[in-house]
């Protein structure tokens, strides 16, 4: 099946084996080549800038000269943007900018933690399935298929519903949903790689599987994993925001983008900015990772390179 798998529009996974082109096992200067390609692609550069800004702001959230995101100032309730409150204040008189910045931190922490877990688990499962082949492969992939039978966001929703509303459970849910996707994108290239001459040569020389996988297979999966990670991060941010919007992530008063947007919805006619700014933040962050992912695909995927 071509195009995106799963129920998510953001899980754009190339078909099995598609991303492993003829490439030397050790790509010299690969990083600089990718950097050049990214800088030439204006959309990707924009994505990189957006992602970089969000990361910097989130990392420095506690050191920036911002108000306490939890402090309520009654006379500021639903204040519009001004010099003192650049993005206004929410229904409790809390500084919206400060809350958005701290919300960025939560959003990115959840996204990175869940995607990292899914990346590790998925890569291990995919490499084991692809390299071992046979029955191991069949059993693992059948189990993955069961997870693919649930629409992605719904599966995450169900897991969080069962475990209880908490960011840690959101991390777990997103990791569980995304693990099969990583497993599937990794398995295809592994199947192709293990038949390649340099792997056969290494095997003929008596190298143990551990060494073959570590030295020859994993380095060649880097581009697939990098592309998929960027797309997964955009999906994770959007999913966390959805769950937070539905009240299933961080609980009040913790600043969380989705929940802030939902709170803003209550007073939408009086203070539209309370719903507009959090949504804008979510969209920009998701867009940044999407553009970066597209750019990385263009730069790294030999199929797409002209």
């Amino acid at each position: 099946m071509a195009g995106s798998i799963r129920g998510s529009a953001w899980a754009d996974v190339p078909p099995d084996g598609a991303t492993t082109g003829p490439r030397s096992p050790r790509a010299d200067g690969a990083i600089s080549r990718v950097a050049v390609a990214l800088f030439r692609n204006r959309a990707a550069l924009a994505g990189l800038l957006i992602v970089g800004t969000f990361l910097a702001v989130a990392a420095a959230a506690n050191r920036l000269p911002l108000a306490n995101p939890l402090r309520m100032v009654p006379q500021d309730r639903m204040a519009g943007p001004s010099w003192a409150l650049p993005l206004g204040a929410d229904a409790f008189g809390r500084d919206l900018l400060a809350r958005l910045v701290h919300g960025a931190r939560l959003s990115l922490e959840v996204a990175f933690a869940s995607v990292f877990a899914a990346l590790v688990a998925g890569a291990v499962l995919g490499v084991v399935a692809g390299y071992a082949g046979g029955r191991v492969d069949q059993v693992l992939m059948r189990i993955m298929d069961v997870f693919f039978s649930f629409p992605a966001v719904l599966l995450a929703l169900g897991i969080v519903a069962a475990l209880g509303p908490h960011p840690a459970n959101v991390v777990l849910a997103i990791a569980i949903v995304y693990t099969p996707i990583f497993a599937r994108v990794v398995r295809g290239p592994v199947l192709a790689l293990k038949e390649r001459e340099f792997v056969e040569a290494s095997r003929a020389l008596g190298a143990p599987a551990r060494r073959i996988v570590g030295r020859h297979i994993l380095p060649n999966l880097a581009s697939v994993l990098v592309i998929q990670t960027s797309i997964a991060l955009s999906w994770a941010i959007l999913t966390e925001a959805s769950l937070s919007f539905l009240g299933l992530s961080a609980q009040p008063p913790t600043p969380s983008w989705g929940a802030m947007l939902n709170e803003g919805r209550q007073n939408i006619e009086l203070a539209p900015h309370l719903a507009v700014f959090p949504g804008l933040a979510i969209m920009l962050a998701v867009l940044g990772f999407n553009l970066l992912g597209d750019g990385l695909r263009d730069a790294l995927d030999p199929r797409q390179r002209s």
Partner: protein, 317 residues
Amino acid sequence: MARYLLRRLLALGPTLIGVSVLAFLFLRLVPGDAIAVRLGTSTVLTPQQMDELRAYLGLDRPLPLQYLGWLGALLRGDAGYSLRTGQPVVCEIASRLPVTMELALAAALVALLIGLPLGLLSALRPHTGVDLVARSLGPLGLSLPNFWLGTLFVLLLARYLRWMPNTGGYVGFTQDPWANLRFLLFPAVTLGVAMAAVVMRTTRSAMLDVLGADYVRTAHAKGLAASAVVGHHALRNSLIVVVTILGVQVGYLLSGAVVVEEIFSVPGLGRMLLTAINQRDYALVQGTVLVVAVLFVATKTLVDVLYGWLDPRIRLG
């Protein structure tokens, strides 16, 4: 074709069993005692009453036996009872499902109406204004959170246009088709936008692939009109690719419906699921998730079959 169909249907078996196991285990995932889970939060029972209830519900049996009992009841159409309403889960779902199906269909229609022409135009006129607009809208559509778009629509309708079709509440299609469609218009657009972006991208890249193919050049060379080449040769072949993504997108539509139904107060399956989650009505949550998964798997199989029917290489390969 019959053999291909049979193969697809046989592959369905293990998947559905896996789905049912996962849905069954879902209730086990809930922290705390299974009885407490079934009873919700408000009930206090003595330990002896708990044991009696446990035996009555068969919860003292080993897990695999419990699963088989649950599956047997399910196959007879018994998915348990909703804690809050006391109605059978099956009835609750059956009453909400048509609304969500209509919303998903309408959203898919919106996505096709926006995505197909844009994708076509951008492929036929590469590196022009249309192409640039279409290609910029793609990532934007994918990044637009549907709950934000929905909220903005509500804002626009309520504050600036003073036209709020939702205040009247949901009306069934059979009661008043016009009011029903008017009610679903904005929810469908909200849900359809991200899918339109996917359709647009897929159409564009499929068309570009096909337009570069030898048989298209041959068609041009033998003097066919450009419209005939595009309509008869290129579009038909790229539509096959578009059809395949539709199946996967159904999953997106069904989960997106949860959020969109909440925003626009559409009384569908998604809204019921959310209420059930908030009320810890786990039997209803389990049933809903199961139904959606089965729907999703069924659509994907249907699309596979359709794909095989459209493209002999697939069914014979």
